[in-house]
Symmetry: C2
Subunit: 151 residues, 2 copies
């Protein structure tokens, strides 16, 4: 299955966090499931927080941010009765506002599971609830207001 | 002048975004001024957003996050009548919650100015207002709730 980001229009696919067209990037891959979106990512050891065994906050925010805009695009796509990768005009959202609540330290070395759920979709605005877990424990939660780009 | 992060206790200085002890990191340096804190950072070209000419949102969140916790430590230090680098116990804050409002695209290639202002400080909790500007224009604003670690 191709990831949501693999359907981004090439002009908008350069994001360091998730753009297929960024050779140096992290290449986060998000997938649309029945009731949610998911992405899995295992941070490199260099991405430590203040202490070497935890992930730094900026990466957690990055993962939620990239996954959130991908989720918004996928949810909007589905709400319009479209399939990802069809030949309609591309749908691409950007972040207007992101909140991240850090619930507990995120362990470094583990695979992280990022999930997204659609809270609301009105016109070009989507609100997505986000969470990041390691080993079944929620380490961070967040919410994003994403706005559709006019591509 | 040594940066706030250069006074972090070595055990807590491994952050990828700003830790002096992280050899692969971004090494953000924040400074305490009269009424605010400041950090300056020029992102590498690889840190692009969806389009190649803008900075990706995750890096903006990272800069605000690292600068925010440094600011909280410096403001708390001063509120207690202490000087950075004195021989008292180290003061180190971590993020409980971070909000980032993206006001306009942040141009890639420019030096970014990150500022922090203390909103409130009560016990171990500090609220810091944050902003990120390029060429005198505010590109992102945010607010952080930071909590002091028991080092």
């Amino acid at each position: 299955m191709r990831a949501i980001q693999d359907h981004y229009p090439p002009t908008f696919a350069h994001c360091y966090g998730c753009g297929p067209a960024n050779p140096a990037g992290l290449h986060l891959k998000s997938y649309l499931l029945e009731d949610r979106t998911e992405a899995r990512f295992t941070p490199d050891r260099r991405h430590s927080g203040g202490v070497p065994d935890n992930v730094y906050g900026g990466l957690i925010a990055s993962l939620l941010d990239c996954h959130g805009t991908a989720s918004a695009a996928a949810f909007a796509n589905r709400a319009r009765g479209r399939a990802l990768g069809d030949d309609g005009p591309p749908i691409r959202f950007v972040t207007a506002s992101l909140r991240v609540d850090f619930r507990r330290p995120t362990p470094l070395g583990a695979e992280l599971l990022v999930t997204g759920r659609l809270v609301s979709l009105e016109g070009r605005k989507a609100v997505v609830a986000l969470a990041l877990a390691a080993g079944g424990e929620t380490c961070a939660e967040g919410e994003m207001l994403a706005v559709e780009l006019r591509t």
